[in-house]
Every structure is written in structure tokens, then in C-alpha cells.
């Protein structure tokens, strides 16, 4: 619809999942999108785990997003709001590596985490935030009273790579999302030097209604088609139906 004979020369479509994560090095800081069951780029995470990298820093909502990377012993540092599953009775894959001293864990409020990512993406080095004052979150942080409210200084959290999940991605890197799969994905994409998007459908530039684009291509460097969600993807023993596309 927008193509008037001047097809963009940019092509961010990558042909395979493994190729999309092939250059991520040991020690990289990686953000992984997703919240609960939704919006997690499982295929990218599994491909990254297969590379058996070392000393990654992982930023994600919960172990649900990076359990495969713990199994491959690729992680040395985790920054997360949920250092276990939301259900405290579920087995915690982070516990043993944490207790053995193999993985350092920083737990912080989700709102603070996403704002740290947004700040990194928006060129803001640090900001004052009132959340966490009077709790363990304020430990070792500069404090200041602003507008009658006690705040702590929070620094931007830049990422080397972001792995995100979207519904449709075009050849210029523009992304749309489906329902609660949006979650942290747009802000992870903003915060990273290189963003890799796993999508249900890849299309040519010009085929998306521009009004529906949530993450513009400037924040996205690679787009790769995922497959159906893993067949063993279950929630508390109930196998969820496969994703609609």
C-alpha cells in the first residue's frame, strides 16, 4: 500500500532462529521479554541456550523466561522482579545456582525495572523514584526528598541484546503484538543495542497498517519467524491451546 516503486533497501528479516542469535558473545547483558505465559521469545532463548555461552547477565520478569539458560549454565547475573515463580510452592530453578554462588541475583520492583530500561532507551542516565523507599530496595542507593516525597536514585539499565516476541514483524523491523504478549517487549527493544524479534508472521514493509505498529523498526535489528509455541508449554498442569495467528 505504501510501495510506490521505491521498495526500502533495508531488510531485517533473518532466515533462521539460530542465525538470529549466532553473534551474542559470552558476558553479554541480555533482556528477555515476556510476562507470565505471554510474550516470551522461547525459540530464541532455546537457541541461545544451545550455544552454551558463559557469564551472561539476564534481565527478565521471572525464571519462566530464562530457565533454559540456567540449565545450560550460561548465566552469572540475574536482574529480575521475580527471583522465583509467582507461586512460591513451584520449584525455583534460580535457588540452587544462587545458593552455590554461581549466579548473583538483584531483585527489584517491576515498575523500577521497566523505567530503568526506558531510561536507557531514552538517553536518561538516571532518575529518582519513590518506589522501594523504606525497603531493602533502597539499600546503598542515593536518597533525596523531591516534591515532598522520599526517592531513591535509580540508574538506567542498558542492554547489549534484547530478545523480544511480537505477532507480526516486517522487513524494516516494525512490530505489532497480540494481547498481553506486548508487556515488556517494547521497552526491552528500546533499551538494547541489538534487538532480535521472534514473530509469528514475517511480512514485507508496507503490509502493516502504520497505525497498528507499536514498536517502530528503529528499535529492532533482526526479525525472525518463530514456530508454534513449544508443545510442552503448560500452565499448572493444563496444556494451553496453541497460539492463534
Amino acid at each position: 500500500m505504501l510501495d510506490k516503486g521505491n521498495s526500502p533497501l533495508v531488510n531485517k528479516l533473518v532466515s533462521s532462529i539460530s542465525e538470529a542469535v549466532a553473534d551474542i558473545p559470552d558476558g553479554a547483558a541480555i533482556g528477555i521479554g515476556g510476562f507470565g505465559a505471554a510474550g516470551t521469545p522461547y525459540r530464541l532463548v532455546l537457541a541461545l541456550a544451545e550455544r552454551k555461552l558463559k557469564r551472561l547477565t539476564v534481565v527478565a520478569t521471572s525464571p519462566r523466561q530464562f530457565e533454559a539458560l540456567l540449565q545450560s549454565r550460561s548465566v552469572s547475573r540475574v536482574i529480575t522482579p521475580f527471583a522465583r515463580y509467582a507461586d512460591p510452592s513451584a520449584p525455583n530453578p534460580l535457588l540452587e545456582p544462587y545458593l552455590k554462588g554461581e549466579v548473583k541475583v538483584e531483585i527489584l520492583p517491576i515498575g523500577t525495572l521497566v523505567e530503568k530500561l526506558r531510561a536507557a532507551g531514552a538517553g536518561i542516565p538516571a532518575f529518582y523514584c519513590p518506589v522501594g523507599v523504606g525497603t531493602l530496595v533502597e539499600k546503598d542507593k542515593e536518597k533525596r526528598r523531591l516534591g515532598g516525597t522520599n526517592c531513591v536514585l535509580e540508574h538506567a539499565l542498558p542492554l547489549d541484546f534484547a530478545l523480544v516476541k511480537a505477532q507480526k514483524g516486517d522487513s524494516m523491523g516494525n512490530l505489532t503484538y497480540r494481547m498481553t504478549s506486548r508487556c515488556h517487549n517494547p521497552v526491552m527493544a528500546m533499551a538494547a543495542k541489538i534487538t532480535v524479534a521472534e514473530v509469528d508472521e514475517t511480512i514485507e514493509a508496507g503490509q502493516l497498517d502504520p497505525e497498528t505498529i507499536v514498536t517502530p523498526g528503529i528499535f529492532v535489528h533482526r526479525v525472525v519467524k518463530g514456530e508454534k509455541p513449544p508443545a510442552n508449554w503448560i500452565y499448572r498442569g493444563v496444556k494451553l491451546k496453541e497460539q492463534k495467528t
Binding site: A86, P109, I110, G132, Y235, K241
Partner: protein
């Protein structure tokens, strides 16, 4: 150690909590027991979840489940007219920016001053802050719902929290299987009793001394 005294079932605690909500309110339901309140909210209450959804319906039945439509506790939820989706930055702006009228949260401990501890259990090395600190800071009113005593038989309502805090002086109302309590400047006031429960029973399972409301009555649903 004492056994959980009688009183309300978990469903009835949720039903009683839902009575606090009125049409037009924007409400966040925390992870755990509070998410079940979604099944009882009156029509016109607009539910918010921090993973980026506003105006959703009840928890999904198995045949309705869609793995891309979940709440913050990863439970499948349902579509409802007027539902909207947005990213996490906006979801937390709604929370931190004082746009939510009520947050209903679970608790391991609540102090008589309204301090809340709900992210690290006793003896737990790690824990899950999630969005609880953002809600504790930003929601206009915090209602805690929980069983009156914990699994070890100890009161959840205490003089001073021994567990790491989620927020200081943030809780307004506590609804348990035994009663409804309000945190006031003078202390905790018992406002309503669960059917068949006496004030002495509630006091027996509560750390600080309770004040009795002039208007103390049996809970209404």
C-alpha cells in the same frame, strides 16, 4: 501453634473484598488469592493487571484459555467489552502515577501501623517483589486479603513486621477469614466479624490489641 480458626472460606474472603469495589473504580488485583477476586467483582469495576491489560473479565475456564491473554500471576483471563492492552511502562505509570483507585494485595505480615510484608517468606533466600512495591506506593487505597493466621499458625497481623517490607504505612484495610479491620492513626480497628466468629477469637489470633468499632457488626456480603 494454632489451627486456622473457622470463618470465611477463601472464596468468601474474595467475595467480601469485592464488596469494597464500586462501578467506575480502576482496581489492581495482586498475585495469589487476590486474583480470584476477579470472579466476584461487580459489573462496571475496571480491572488492571501490571502485564499491560485494563478492563478484563473473569479467570478463563479451561476451554477459553489463550496463552497470550494472562494476568500478572500468569493465569489465563478473558476478554471483556472495553478491554485494552498496553506496554509495561504505561502499566506501571498507571500504578506509580496514582491512577488506580484500589489495589487488593496478599500479605505475609501487616503491622498495626499499616506496614506491609508480602514479597519474601520466612526463611526464603530470594523472593518476588513483582509489582507489589509499585502498587503499595501508588494505589490510592490498599486492601489486604489473607487468612488471619499463617500456615505455621502465627498471626499475620503483628505489632511490627519481622519480614522485609513491601511498603511502610501503606495498608488501609485488612479482610481475613475472621473479620474486616481498618488501619487508623490510633491502631487497628475491628469493623466487622465473620459469621459465627467472636471478637475474642479474632483478638486471640492477632498480634496487636484491636480497637473495636462503635459500629462493629457481622460481615455483609
Amino acid at each position: 501453634m494454632s489451627r486456622q480458626p473457622a470463618g470465611l472460606s477463601k472464596d468468601l474472603i474474595c467475595l467480601r473484598a469485592a464488596k469494597e469495589l464500586t462501578p467506575g473504580m480502576y482496581v489492581n488485583l495482586g498475585i495469589g488469592l487476590p486474583t480470584q477476586v476477579a470472579n466476584f467483582v461487580p459489573r462496571g469495576v475496571i480491572l488492571h493487571s501490571q502485564n499491560g491489560v485494563l478492563g478484563f473479565g473473569p479467570i478463563a475456564a479451561e476451554e477459553e484459555m489463550d496463552w497470550e491473554l494472562v494476568n500478572a500471576g500468569a493465569q489465563p483471563i478473558t476478554l471483556s467489552p472495553g478491554i485494552s492492552f498496553f506496554n509495561s511502562v504505561d502499566a506501571f505509570a498507571m500504578m506509580r502515577g496514582r491512577h488506580l483507585d484500589v489495589a487488593i494485595l496478599g500479605a505475609y505480615q501487616v503491622s498495626e501501623k499499616g506496614d506491609l510484608a508480602n514479597w519474601r517468606m520466612e526463611g526464603e533466600p530470594l523472593g518476588a517483589i513483582g509489582g507489589s512495591m509499585d502498587l503499595a506506593y501508588g494505589a490510592k487505597r490498599i486492601i489486604v486479603i489473607c487468612e488471619h493466621i499463617n500456615k505455621a499458625g502465627r498471626p499475620r497481623i503483628v505489632k511490627k513486621c519481622s519480614l522485609p517490607l513491601t511498603g511502610k504505612r501503606v495498608v488501609n484495610t485488612i479482610i481475613t477469614n475472621l473479620g474486616v479491620m481498618e488501619i487508623t492513626r490510633k491502631g487497628i480497628e475491628l469493623r466487622a466479624l465473620a459469621p459465627g466468629v467472636t471478637t475474642a477469637e479474632v483478638q486471640k489470633h492477632t498480634g496487636p490489641k484491636l480497637m473495636l468499632s462503635d459500629d462493629l457488626k457481622e460481615m455483609e456480603f
